[in-house]
Each structure stands twice: as structure tokens, then as C-alpha cells.
């Protein structure tokens, strides 16, 4: 944040000075212009044969010198501003990193094959996030043959999302109807949420629609009485407030516009689970993770350079530091042996000792030199046979 403020300060300075100089310059030149015009008119109004009077000549020369002075002054001031401008540049250089070559190789995605894969990834991302036209344009430009079928479900989903944004739940309800078996299996509350929104908007329209609200409730809501009992009861109670409006009622939380965003998200989530896909575009997740990681890598690289440790990291290595991305980005179980402090791999899986403590296979081998002799668990006083330890799977 301080970097942003520092550059911002310099920028403001530049903007201020430039605007001031611009206005001043324009004003001065404007004055001179009027002066010259008036002189010109004066000279023109005089008869063509008459010679210039002495006074007129001196005025002329005065004006000439003034013009010269003004122009040179403006030019010097402009040049001086160059200093302020370069300060902005220096501030940016000091506070922001120009390139990442020290931590990520720039040759990585250069091969044709990788470029093609990258194009496909970007294209899929566009289809996923509803930017369908952009995706199609990219497919055209990059010469990608995309499966028409693969983007169909996304088109439908995105269309429904658009409708939901506009407050229209009909297409979403139609979709729910088509997939109601699977949704029921998942235990999804999507349909209930949609009907609830409809009902509330009917109530909001006041006593004139009271009958419509009741009919709506009678047709669509009873099946939720069992599964969403408490919510159902609150909805029915809102009927009390038809005439006065719900703003003052204890149920005003049902008016919250957040409910619309929530129903959009629920729809997205359920639709993706139905299709067996991840909820967020994988590219977006990756890029966001990278944005958190890159600054950390840059600072550690700086430290490494200072201590004369060099070399780029390859696939045989791990990154030098741990970056915590939060629980949302944990997709796999990671077991780190508490004794050897290494990640478990296929050849070094985690094992559970009889006492319940989990260590890696290599650590177990080290603790017990042969397979028969009893050894003591490092974390509790239980003695046990190494053969009794079980390999575990997460």
C-alpha cells in the first residue's frame, strides 16, 4: 500500500504542475495573441502609403520582445517539469518490480505445443466464465477446434445466470424441474430458494396481489414443508405483513438483495456438481494462487541471491518456501512426516503405528532397525512391533 501511495504522491505533483503550467502558458499566449491582433488591425486601418510612425515601430518591437520572452520562459518551465516527470518514473521503479525473470523461467511456455495447450486453457476459461464471444474469437484466431457440445452446458448455465441477475427465475425453475431427481439426491435447496424469492416479491407488491401470493404458495410451497420447516413457517408468517410491507417486520432479512446473489451462487454450485466439474474456472484459481505466491518467491529469491545460492528450481525440487493459500485452495491431503519433515510420496507413504501416531514409512524404518525388535513410539511410551504398523491412505 505504501508503494501505491508513494507513486500516487508523485503523480499528483506532476498533474498539478502540468495543469498549472498549461493554463499559465495558454493565458500568456492568449494575451499576446490579442495584443498582436489589435496591432495588426491598427496597421491595417491606416492608409497603405503612410509610413509607420516612430511610436508604432517602438510598440511593435516591444511586442516582439515580449513574445520572445514569453516563449522562452514557457519552454524553460516545460523543461524543468521534466524533473518532476522523471521522479514519477523513479518512484515506480523503486516501488514495483519490472520483471519476474529471476523466479520464473521465460522459456517455459515457448514451445509450440505448450502455446497450443495454453490457448486451449484460456479458451475454456472464457466459456466457463460466460465470456462466450471472446472464447469463440480466440478459437478462431488460434485455430482451435473446439467441441461444440462441450460449451453447450456452459451456455445454458450462463444464460440462466443472466436471467437470475435480472430478477427472472423462470428459466432457473425450468432447469430445476428437468434435473429434479439429481437435485433431490444432492439435497439441494435451490428450488426452495427460487420459490421463496418469487413468493416474497409477490408479497411485496401489496394487498392487491394477496390472492396471487396465496395461490402461488398453495401450488409450489407445500412440498418444502417437510424439508425446510422453519423457513417455510417464516414465509407463511410474512403474509401478515402484506398490507404494511415487510420493511418493519422481523422478516426484513428476507428482503435482502444478498439473497439473489446467494441463489445465483447456489445454482452455479449445483449445476457444476451435476456436470462433475469444479466450481471455479481452474485457470482463475491457478492465477489467483500465483498472485499470492509470486511476491513471496521474489522476496525469497532476493534473500537467496544475497547469500550466493543460485539456480532455478526444476520439477525435481519443491519450491523453497511454503505459501498458505487458505482452506479454499486445499484440494489434496498432504502428509508431512513430523520426524523427517518430508512430504509423503508413493514410495514413502504414511503409516499408522499401533498407538495411533502417524509417521512416514522411511521414518519407521529408521526407528526400528529390524522388523522383529520392538521399538518405542517417539510420541508416547507405547512399545510396539514395526510389523504391526499399517499403511494408511487419505
Amino acid at each position: 500500500m505504501e508503494s501505491i501511495n508513494a507513486v500516487d504522491k508523485e503523480l499528483d505533483r506532476v498533474l498539478g504542475k502540468f495543469t498549472a503550467l498549461k493554463n499559465h502558458g495558454l493565458r500568456t499566449v492568449g494575451d499576446l495573441e490579442t495584443q498582436l491582433l489589435s496591432l495588426k488591425n491598427e496597421l491595417q486601418s491606416a492608409p497603405p502609403e503612410s509610413k509607420l510612425t516612430f511610436g508604432q515601430i517602438s510598440i511593435l518591437s516591444q511586442v516582439m520582445t515580449k513574445v520572445k520572452e514569453a516563449t522562452s520562459r514557457i519552454a524553460t518551465e516545460h523543461r524543468e517539469l521534466h524533473g518532476t516527470v522523471s521522479k514519477v518514473g523513479k518512484s515506480i521503479d523503486k516501488n514495483f518490480v519490472p520483471d519476474y525473470d529471476s523466479v520464473v523461467s521465460d522459456k517455459e511456455f515457448r514451445t509450440d505445443e505448450k502455446m497450443k495447450i495454453l490457448d486451449k486453457v484460456i479458451c475454456n476459461h472464457f466459456f466457463r466464465s460466460g465470456q462466450v464471444e471472446v472464447g469463440e474469437e480466440l478459437a478462431k484466431e488460434a485455430g482451435l477446434a473446439f467441441d461444440v457440445k462441450s460449451k453447450e452446458p456452459f451456455q445454458e448455465i450462463n444464460q440462466i445466470l443472466e436471467h437470475l441477475k435480472g430478477g427472472n427465475v423462470q428459466s432457473a425453475l425450468a432447469w430445476c424441474d428437468r434435473h429434479k431427481d439429481k437435485l433431490h439426491e444432492m439435497g439441494s435447496s435451490l428450488e426452495f430458494k427460487l420459490h421463496r424469492l418469487c413468493f416474497i416479491s409477490l408479497i411485496q407488491e401489496g394487498p392487491s396481489r394477496q390472492k396471487d401470493a396465496l395461490t402461488y404458495a398453495r401450488i409450489y410451497l407445500p412440498k418444502f414443508a417437510g424439508t425446510h420447516q422453519k423457513e417455510f413457517q417464516s414465509l407463511m408468517a410474512t403474509l401478515l405483513y402484506v398490507s404494511h410491507g415487510m420493511d418493519q417486520s422481523p422478516y426484513r432479512h428476507l428482503l435482502d438483495p444478498f439473497l439473489w446473489a446467494d441463489v445465483s451462487e447456489t445454482f452455479m454450485r449445483d449445476a457444476c456438481t451435476l456436470l462433475g466439474l469444479s466450481i471455479d474456472s481452474p485457470l482463475a484459481v491457478c492465477v489467483n494462487a500465483g498472485c499470492v505466491t509470486l511476491p513471496a518467491l521474489l522476496s525469497i529469491k532476493q534473500v537467496m541471491m544475497q547469500r550466493q545460492v543460485q539456480g532455478m528450481w526444476t520439477s525435481k525440487d519443491e519450491l523453497p518456501i511454503e505459501v498458505d493459500l487458505g482452506t479454499k485452495c486445499r484440494f489434496h491431503s498432504i502428509f508431512a512426516c513430523p520426524i523427517l519433515r518430508q512430504q509423503s510420496t508413493e514410495s514413502n507413504p504414511p503409516t499408522r503405528l499401533v498407538c495411533g501416531h502417524a509417521i512416514s514409512k522411511d521414518a519407521l524404518a529408521r526407528l526400528s532397525n529390524s522388523r522383529q525388535v520392538k521399538f518405542k513410539c517417539p510420541y508416547c511410551p507405547m512399545e510396539q512391533n514395526p510389523a504391526d504398523a499399517r499403511q494408511i491412505y487419505f
Partner: protein, 330 residues
């Protein structure tokens, strides 16, 4: 005349002010992001933050698409979100596109005009690009047999550069001795049509140097970092370990991440494969007799639906809930 001067002042000042305004807009965008991150724990802030992240990804993609030559797609992205125009440097890339396509059409005029526009900075960078362009013109003149013109051209443009690129000038003059169809000419590498593609590459790198742009797009750098930090050995292991939510388990990204280093973990972080929730002291990991470990909560739910019987989701073996044993993970 004063009127012309006045206009000139206005123009140049307006240009500089516009540039400063663009900088200001970018700073504002960054500031919004920084404060959104600072308030990340506030749930009301969530839509602001995710919208900002989406804009960030879009501007990365615009720059990357421009660099890889997919100009139409980049323009379409900008059309959809006008804010991106001031957040990316499309003008530089559009100029570059014009120059590159003219070079591929084997003409140097556009490129030479570009050199002229940027001559002071190119001089500071000690760029030899203009000289190479003139050299290519010379070669083309020789190729089409217009030797007299070639001599005049050489006298005009190539002579001044002797101190810098003496060898190259020598080679050029040497070309006179041989006819253009001579396949044994020691100078035939100069007649190679691939020289045009080399010129395109040289232009690209000079262009980047000029504007202090990195050789790879920010998108590419960030993606690599992201692939690494999410990469685990399970993404490349057996099929049943793959998680449909994990980006690296997805087929295309999996391929891209093959050469990246793995994420570093010094602490165990376990997830219950049934619910996707973390396993910790609130949701104790429990081992079934077959060695598979799940979260206590999920196992209890499974048992509750089935009168105390659990069917292991991975191997389908049947166990009683009382057979599960606690696993202590440090």
C-alpha cells in the same frame, strides 16, 4: 502564428496530462485491490474482492493475448470491459502489430518510420535495429539486380556505421563480387528469406527494451507460480487420487505443470475425501481396518444412515463403525 503555437502548447500538455491520468487510473485500480485485500475478512467485501480479481485476470489475459498475436480476441475483451483500456498498454502492441506484419510482407518502410519516431531512446539503447533494416534493403536491392542503386544506398546509409559493425559492412560490400544466383556464394546466408523473421524477432525485443517490458507476459509468470504452488504428487499419481476441484488435476493444466517444481509443505494438511472438509481436531481422522482414513464426522453420517454399518467409499469393503480407530497426526 501565435495561434499555431498556442495549439502546440495545448496538444503537448494534453498528451502529458492524459498519460498522467492513465497512470492515476491504474494506481486507483491497484489501491482498490490493496484495500479489498486488507478487508478480506469482512464478508461484505467478498463481491468487491472477487470482482477485482476478475478484472485482474482479464487484464493479464489482454496483455498475454496481445503478445501472442491474438489481437482480435484482446480487442473483444476490452470492448466488454472498457476499464481495461487504461489498465493495459494496447497502443504499444497495436503499433507493434503494424510493424511486424509489414516486415513479414518484406517491406521496411513502417519499421523505419518506427525507428525514426523512437530514435532518441533507441540511440540510448545502442540499438542496431535501424542498421539491420538498411542492410536488408541493401540485400533486397542486390537480389533484384539493382546494383547501382545498391551502391548509392550503401553510400548513404551503411557508411556511417563502420566503427560499430565493421564486419557486417564488409560482408555487404563483399556481396558485390558474386551474382545473386550463385549457390556457392559465401554470402548466401545474407540472401536467406528467413532474415525477415529474424528482423521481426529483433524488432520485438527492441520494442520490449524500449518500453521496459519484460520478455514474458505477466500472465505467463503468474500462471507458472500458481501451477507450482498447487502441484502435489497426488495430481500425477493414480486416478483415484485426482480431485475434480483441483486445477492441476485438470487435463490441460496437468500437462502444463509437468516441468514445474512442487509445492513445499512442512506441515500436514489433511482433507476428508468424502466431504472435502479439513480433518483436524474438530474432525478427527479415523482409519478403517483397510487402512483408508476419513473424517470422523463423515463416517458418523454414513453410519447413521445405515444403522452403524459403513461401506468404504473407495474399496466398498463393509465395516462396523466401532472398528474405526483414531489417527494422530502431528
Amino acid at each position: 502564428q501565435t495561434r499555431k503555437y498556442k495549439r502546440k502548447i495545448e496538444e503537448s500538455f494534453t498528451d502529458e496530462l492524459d498519460a498522467a491520468q492513465i497512470c492515476k487510473r491504474r494506481i486507483e485500480h491497484l489501491r482498490m485491490g490493496a484495500s479489498a485485500f486488507e478487508n478480506a475478512s469482512d464478508p461484505n467485501n467478498e463481491p468487491v474482492l472477487s470482482q477485482w480479481k476478475r478484472t485482474r485476470l482479464d487484464r493479464f489475459l489482454v496483455e498475454h493475448l496481445l503478445r501472442t498475436g491474438h489481437y482480435a480476441t484482446a480487442m473483444k475483451l476490452i470492448d466488454d470491459n472498457r476499464q481495461l483500456k487504461s489498465l493495459t498498454n494496447i497502443d504499444i502492441y497495436l503499433v507493434a502489430q503494424a510493424v511486424e506484419s509489414s516486415l513479414l510482407n518484406r517491406e521496411t518502410a513502417t519499421a523505419l518510420a518506427w525507428c525514426h519516431d523512437n530514435r532518441s531512446k533507441l540511440k540510448k539503447l545502442h540499438s542496431q535495429f535501424e542498421f539491420h533494416l538498411r542492410k536488408q534493403d541493401f540485400i533486397e536491392l542486390i537480389r533484384t539486380g539493382r546494383r547501382v542503386e545498391a551502391v548509392r544506398h550503401a553510400r548513404k546509409y551503411l557508411v556511417g556505421q563502420e566503427d560499430v559493425c565493421f564486419e557486417e559492412v564488409q560482408q555487404c560490400t563483399g556481396m558485390f563480387a558474386f551474382s545473386t544466383s550463385d549457390t556457392i556464394s559465401p554470402y548466401k546466408h545474407l540472401l536467406d528469406p528467413d532474415r525477415w523473421s529474424h528482423l521481426v524477432e529483433e524488432f520485438r525485443s527492441e520494442n520490449y527494451r524500449l518500453f521496459q517490458l519484460s520478455t514474458q507476459s505477466v500472465f505467463s509468470a503468474v500462471l507458472q507460480a500458481g501451477l507450482s504452488v498447487l502441484k502435489t504428487p497426488q495430481c500425477y499419481g493414480s486416478r483415484d487420487k485426482k480431485n475434480p476441484d483441483c486445477p492441476i488435476c485438470e487435463e490441460l493444466l496437468n500437462e502444463l505443470a509437468k516441468n514445474s517444481p512442487y509445492a513445499h509443505c512442512s506441515q500436514s494438511r489433511l482433507i476428508d475425501s468424502i466431504s472435502g472438509q479439513p480433518m483436524n481436531s474438530d474432525n478427527v481422522p479415523m482409519m478403517l481396518p483397510n487402512g483408508y482414513v476419513y473424517g470422523e464426522k463423515s463416517l458418523q453420517d454414513l453410519a447413521a444412515e445405515n444403522e452403524g454399518i459403513i461401506v468404504c467409499p473407495k474399496t466398498k469393503e463393509i465395516y462396523d463403525i466401532r472398528e474405526m480407530k483414531k489417527v494422530y497426526v502431528m
